[in-house]
Symmetry: C2
């Protein structure tokens, strides 16, 4: 299981300010901290970038890739920003992402084909609602894969995100139990070892004590890992979550358990 | 997933001393702490009790059941001690346990029939070695179930322990990965929803820093829980492990996620 950093996000005020002022310093510094912590990919969550999308995403990608050659996960719903990022990036890219939502299918998915990029597909209904039941998740996965293939993409480019639900949602944990099965079933369902990703920070959003948040993440992450999750999107500066992700990797790797990794 | 306390063990010096002096105080006090922490069963690990086995186990059971009505897991390889415990216990009992080892089959297994007790069956070879491969675990499970049925017991009395291996064993984690599959497969393999138990404290034995031990336990326990483990045998006075066990229960329970439980 690879570890991707979700730290570089526009909801972080210092990143928002740095982007407003086109100041690379804080962005580069945060990217460097993620790399030092052991991130194996960096999610750049720019938000929709309604003003100057191309310029802003170009700046973000250039800044991060001046610090690291790790894969960049370009996390925006704005096709203009996304395309600018894909053009700018010298690093491997992962588009984050598309779903059955019509404007994602028409605006985002074709960019994966055009730029030979990997792409994350969310298991969401076309109206962006989260399917609670496992059966609905599976139906959505089949439709998503169908759209993905019709766009002319190769199986190896797909990474499915079954969407971890916040526990504060009424049906959040029922949905999350379902995605454990879905992650386990997907390779057989789609007929190839499809990769999966999950955003762990989604689980414990809201006003919870920090140690409770970490404990919830550190209990759910091993369940996802044992189900076969390929990539965990986490806050890599949260020491406990990071250590748990590493232990999961070391536990589940077919090699001999390695103390060096934990 | 139920939580059973592994705290009451003869390797705890104060318990050894209390048993030597037949002093109920420290035993009762530890049992009370386990109950207060939220244990749902108490393992009484007396060791083999080579001297005065009946008297010692009777004393242990009487002392613990003076404090709690929780099920007692009678954890000894000595049939004399075990039978005394079964006669003395007013609480529900679980014999811990039998295996394919000939003296366990002849000396321990019949006591479950005689006293209508639940019994734990270990997935071990007849020579008490741990099978590393999943296929061997499954073969052992089938032979164990066969012996169990031949002893005239009811399916509902069986609890299978796939034996968590210490990570310091060369093949420890390979075995542990296998038991995740085994726990998942057992109900279908045996044709009924067989219960399972695992001793989590076995995982991180040896001279490791305490926080590393807890972190390893807290990563493996959710994997076991998500595989369907029925009962986790843990040190209930280890706060992090206990909280993780509770979160696992709350995550995986078919009801709505309950904040009250964590």
């Amino acid at each position: 299981m690879l570890i991707a950093a979700d730290n570089l996000r526009i909801t972080n005020r210092s990143i928002q300010a740095a982007l407003d002022q086109m100041d690379p310093g804080p962005i580069r510094e945060l990217a460097a901290r993620c790399v030092a912590a052991g991130a194996q990919a960096i999610d750049i969550n720019s938000g929709p970038l309604s003003r100057c999308p191309e310029e802003k995403m170009t700046f973000l990608v250039e800044t991060v890739q001046s610090e690291t050659t790790l894969p960049l996960i370009l996390d925006t719903s704005n096709p203009k920003a996304l395309e600018a990022g894909l053009i700018t990036s010298k690093n491997k890219t992962i588009i984050n992402g598309f779903s059955l939502e019509p404007r994602k299918l028409s605006g985002i998915l074709p960019l994966a084909k055009k730029y030979h990029s990997d792409i994350i597909g969310y298991l969401l209904f076309p109206n962006s609602q989260v399917p609670v039941d496992e059966a609905d998740c599976i139906q959505v996965a089949l439709e998503l894969f169908d759209a993905f293939k019709k766009a002319g993409l190769e199986n190896e480019q797909l990474i499915i995100d079954p969407v971890v639900a916040p526990l504060i949602w009424e049906d959040g944990m029922r949905h999350n139990r379902g995605i454990l099965s879905v992650i386990r079933l997907l390779p057989e369902l789609l007929g190839f070892p499809v990769r999966t990703i999950a955003g762990i920070s989604n689980l414990a959003t809201g006003s919870l004590p920090t140690d409770t948040k970490r404990r919830l993440e550190c209990a759910f992450l091993p369940m996802l890992a044992a189900a076969g999750l390929s990539m965990a999107l986490i806050n890599v500066l949260h020491k406990e979550t990071l250590k748990t992700a590493r232990i999961c990797h070391s536990f589940l790797n077919p090699g001999v358990f390695s103390w060096a990794e934990i």
